[in-house]
């Protein structure tokens, strides 16, 4: 049933890196020779980030559209997703295992549940912050409620929605590092392979930080591209 992938790292000892590795230094040579072992965990980590954020975004979007018409829904959705959000991920990864077993499904369910609060709230706030005059002008021009939502309110809410996506994404990169406890691999698994070995920790941890930064820049770029009317102001 269990069996965490915590094994001792098989340290290859190629020529020059030998001393450095055995004295647990920070070894550029070892890193250069062993960088290959990090690609698979990195890809797993990308998957553990992109899939939950995408699924979470779809669910949040649907909930936000429902709550846009029926305001009373907002409170309960935030309250329930707030409870999910407060449950520590390590605990959630185990609490789900009797239902979903070890592996991706467990990690995915927990990680999706954490994105809901962030994304849902940013979408509803974004829609709500559209000035009443703008809505009135659109309605006055003969747009239906539905058209106002999709042609006016959503485009104007893009910056806030994207801000929510950025927070959700960098948060998920961090939490996915703990997905090793759900048996889902990722860079966290690589950190735990040898948590005492400086070179290993720096590369695996550093890749997670770089991944968060890369996603952040990509979403920011997408936001710029989607809101050309804001560029002249900035």
């Amino acid at each position: 049933m269990i069996g965490l992938p915590i094994a001792q790292l098989q340290i290859d000892k190629p020529g020059g890196a030998d001393d450095c590795v055995s004295s647990n230094g920070f070894c550029p040579e070892w890193i250069a020779e062993n960088i290959d072992r990090y690609w698979t965990p990195l890809l797993e980590h990308v998957y553990l980030t992109v899939a939950p954020v995408a699924i979470g975004f779809a669910i949040s979007l649907a909930l936000a559209i429902m709550a846009h018409r029926r305001r009373w829904l907002t409170g309960p959705v935030i309250a329930i997703s707030g409870i999910f959000f407060a449950i520590p991920s390590v605990a959630a990864f185990f609490l789900l295992q009797p239902l979903t077993g070890l592996g991706y499904t467990t990690a995915m369910v927990a990680l999706v549940s954490y994105t809901l609060l962030i994304i849902f709230r940013n979408i509803t706030d974004g829609l709500r912050n559209v000035p009443a005059e703008t809505r009135d002008a659109a309605l006055g021009q003969g747009l239906t409620e539905r058209q106002v939502l999709y042609r006016v309110e959503f485009p104007m809410a893009v910056p806030e929605i994207m801000a929510g996506l950025r927070i959700a994404t960098s948060t998920t990169v961090g939490l996915a590092a703990l997905a090793v406890f759900a048996g889902a691999g990722g860079l966290g698994a690589e950190i735990l392979v040898d948590k005492r070995f400086k070179s290993n920790v720096v590369v695996a941890g550093g890749l997670a930080v770089l991944l968060a930064a890369a996603f952040d820049l990509m979403i920011l770029g997408a936001q710029r591209a989607m809101t050309p009317w804001r560029r002249s102001r900035a």
Partner: protein, 255 residues
């Protein structure tokens, strides 16, 4: 005895039994679980969490209050929260383990570092969103800079500061779960030593950690309400939508 589809209920039943009753370890020979052992883990868990939160509050709140008062620190406030979110708690802990070492001091240091960003951001934003007219009125009445911080900005920023405390407290208690990786026996001990505790122990400890975190979250939500000045509560409905932008909400989640 239990229908196959509901077998997971059996796991939870065993896990709850693990919390209340001692049993022999998976590897044999040692008694594990039960209230005395788990109370010890819980005490350690709360000790490292509280110590870290207190140290972080002492370091971060005065600094952010002062920066907010001067109005200089937009960059620091956003940068700390961005960096704080981007560094995974597990990576930070492993970094400390490999470069500094094991033990209480290192675990508390990691937790302090995790607790600081939400405190800085929320305190800073809390001070900055105090109505400038209110501050000007106070200055016009002859209050000094120090008095303005103490009597005007701090009370009005308290709800936001406590929102930060809530975020940090939840993150710290959650992250303390992985402290056993650095040889500090918190409630994560059964979780990271399945060879002794088995899946039942992992699940039992997870239930306890989840319950404790939710209690901490609830407690700080109550505290936040308790420290909100009456006047602010009355003014809230009109202002809430406009003024409470994202940083004051529980944004970062670390563990």
């Amino acid at each position: 005895m239990i229908a196959p589809g509901l077998a997971f209920l059996g796991d939870f039943g065993e896990a709850i039994k693990f919390i209340f009753q001692e049993r022999e370890s998976v590897s044999g020979g040692v008694q594990i679980g039960g209230i005395p052992e788990l109370a010890g883990f819980t005490a350690t868990h709360m000790y490292v969490s509280l110590a870290a939160l207190a140290i972080a509050a002492v370091l971060a709140i005065p600094l952010a209050l002062w920066l907010g008062h001067l109005g200089r620190g937009d960059f620091i406030a956003t940068a700390t929260s961005n960096v704080g979110r981007a560094v995974p708690s597990l990576a930070l802990l492993a970094f400390f383990i490999s470069f500094v070492g094991f033990g209480y001091t290192n675990v508390i240091a990691v937790l302090v570092l995790l607790a600081i960003p939400p405190l800085i951001t929320n305190t800073y934003v809390g001070v900055r969103q105090v109505d400038r007219d209110t501050v000007d009125a106070a200055r016009g009445q002859g209050l000094t800079g120090m008095e303005i911080v103490r009597k005007i900005e701090l009370p009005l920023a308290l709800p936001s500061i406590f929102a930060g405390m809530r975020t940090s407290a939840v993150n710290v208690v959650a992250t303390a779960t992985i402290a056993p990786l650095a040889n500090v026996q918190t409630l994560g001990e059964p979780i990271i030593t399945p060879q002794t505790y088995g899946f039942v122990g992992q699940l039992g400890a997870s239930i306890l950690v989840a319950v404790i975190t939710l209690l901490v979250d609830f407690l700080f939500a109550r505290l936040q309400r308790a420290v909100t000045p009456e006047g602010v509560k009355l003014a809230r409905p009109a202002k809430a939508r406009r003024r409470f932008s994202f940083p004051t909400k529980r944004s970062p989640k670390q563990a």
